[in-house]
């Protein structure tokens, strides 16, 4: 998404330096961040070209801008300290939605797998031990509650936000919901792994445990990123 400049040119370009400084101050999903910064960069280049057209007889070859015009465009757009809270707010919401979407997609997929494993008909030796079944039921309930909460968060930061203001602490709530889901998945994976030692149908338990731990890793990483974003200062919406 970034403009095709050589590294030396990039370093010497005030617009590139400004965008790089802003990029270093922001945290959030890489794709959204790249898109927002690419858009800002294009706007700065347009503004600098407009300013150069009025003032410079011989603008630069690449963008048609002069360094003075680039600096003036940067001044008009705002310093990094002024811009970062507004950009970070959107990135924090994007990260929270990313985490909520992950919980919503993963948990409903895993719950039926656990249910089938825990309640599968067949010889007693092939079923999970009773304590493991009870523990999985509780963890499943917790995970289901986080999935429901994630659905509410997605709605609250999407179309519903037209009518209801988005609470400032909502991303932090999403982060801890994601963390709760990740912990429930980790404990479930552990339960399934231990239970596989006690059941004749162990390959299925091991497989379910491996899938669960993979899902745990994905959600835990997203929740961690969400907690980090939620701690950063953000601007109130305009």
């Amino acid at each position: 998404m970034s403009a095709p400049y050589a590294p030396t040119e990039r370093a010497a370009d005030p617009i590139e330096a400004h965008v790089a400084e802003l990029a270093a101050a922001l945290h959030g999903p890489a794709r959204e961040k790249d898109r927002m910064l690419a858009e800002l960069r294009e706007g700065l280049v347009d503004a600098a070209a407009d300013l150069s057209a009025d003032t410079a007889p011989d603008p630069g070859p690449r963008t048609g801008t002069t360094p003075d015009a680039a600096h003036e465009a940067i001044r008009q757009f705002g310093a990094v300290a002024d811009l970062a809270p507004g950009f970070q707010r959107e990135l924090t919401v994007a990260q929270a939605r990313h985490t909520a979407r992950g919980v919503m997609l993963v948990v409903p997929f895993l719950l039926p797998c656990w249910y089938v494993l825990a309640t599968a008909a067949g010889p007693a030796a092939e079923r999970l031990p009773h304590p493991a079944q009870v523990l999985l039921a509780h963890l499943g309930g917790t995970a289901a509650a986080t999935a429901l909460a994630a659905a509410v968060f997605l709605a609250a930061t999407g179309p519903l936000a037209r009518r209801l203001p988005t609470p400032d602490r909502l991303p932090l709530l999403v982060a801890w919901t994601g963390t709760t889901a990740a912990v429930a998945l980790a404990l479930s994976a552990l339960t399934l792994t231990l239970a596989s030692l006690l059941t004749a149908n162990w390959p299925l338990s091991v497989l379910a445990g491996a899938v669960t731990i993979a899902c745990h890793s994905k959600i835990a990483a997203s929740a961690r990123a969400c907690r980090r974003c939620a701690r950063l200062p953000v601007a109130a919406p305009a």
């Binding site: 690419a38 294009e42 959107e90 305009a238």
Partner: protein, 113 residues
């Protein structure tokens, strides 16, 4: 008029300039300034998160368009965005009428001159 005074009306301004057709971010900024004859001072960089938020709310949709080596993100109103713009206009008319009737009261009929 400073950027802080535009606060609270920015959504309506952005939706309004996009009513006539799709524009990229910088064109949105210049359209607001041209329509206000330069009276409205926007901190230009803050427009981009605002456009992003309006898209998240479903009031705008965006597409990336290529122009040579450059890529631009163009925004256009959705149906929900058009409805929201109508609401913003209605609220603004009511607000300005109410403020106007206080600041510039109409002369009372029969009042002594």
């Amino acid at each position: 008029m400073k950027a802080s005074e535009v606060r609270g009306h920015l959504d309506g301004l952005l939706l309004s300039v996009l009513e006539s057709g799709p524009l990229h971010g910088y064109a949105v900024i210049t359209a607001v300034q041209e329509r206000s004859n330069g009276v409205l001072e926007l901190r230009k960089g803050t427009i981009y998160p605002a456009l992003n938020r309006l898209e998240r709310l479903g009031l705008l949709r965006s597409t990336w368009e290529s122009s040579g080596e450059r890529k631009r993100r163009c925004y256009e109103l959705t149906d929900a965005g058009r409805r929201s713009l109508e609401t913003e206009r209605k609220v603004w008319r009511e607000f300005t009428a109410a403020i106007g009737s206080v600041l510039e009261p109409a002369p009372r009929p029969g009042a002594a001159t």
